[in-house]
Symmetry: C2
């Protein structure tokens, strides 16, 4: 049963239909505009640490209080989380006192596909 196993997150059509792999054909201006937004969001060390902290946290979600120890002030943390949210990489939800952020797996997968390297050397 070769096809009994479905790749969990990568096959979904829910994946943001951004663009074909970078190596497939030259991106159009619109595609580049859209994809660059996501790369840009991860192009800051603080945001990358925040995102990684959320992504690697148990259950793929984390309270701000769990991840805000990245060496910048609280307003700055909040600012970066907002940017990641605007880029579609994170979603947030308030539960009582705390706010929880979680990763958007489909977007992550879409970015991974963009960087896919063709099998042939």
């Amino acid at each position: 049963m070769p096809n009994a196993k479905v790749l969990p997150l990568l096959e979904s059509d829910a994946v943001v239909p951004c663009c074909p792999p970078l190596t497939e054909r030259p991106m159009t201006a619109e595609e580049a505009e859209s994809a660059a937004r996501m790369f840009k969001a991860l192009g800051d060390p603080v945001r990358l640490r925040l995102f990684s902290a959320v992504a690697s946290h148990e259950g793929g979600e984390a309270c701000v209080c769990d991840i805000s120890d990245v060496g910048v002030s609280q307003p700055t943390v909040s600012h970066h989380l907002k940017k990641l949210k605007e880029a579609g990489l994170l979603t947030s939800e308030r539960r009582g006192t705390w706010v929880y952020y979680r990763v958007e797996p489909s977007v992550l997968a879409a970015m991974g596909k963009l960087l896919a390297v063709p099998a042939a050397a």
Copy 2:
């Protein structure tokens, strides 16, 4: 006796020893600094188009003259190509009149791994 052909340390899974997948554990400040440089390089629409144009070009390399039609001036194209080079995403070589840029597949692969989504849902 010298080897006729030595494979660079850049192939295989050894890739650039940047960082584990974003979802594996929180990145350290140093890892984030390094990885953010690469994402940042792709975080500009013009650079993304240039990179995609090179990556999708025949043989994985392209002359500047082949890809410089992205709607900005020639100095700006040169500036962005330099940035991509500094980020380790492209290499360049002059051959006669023209300068050819080619992608660094190992770096691309490393970025892809960074974004790898765990198989388990």
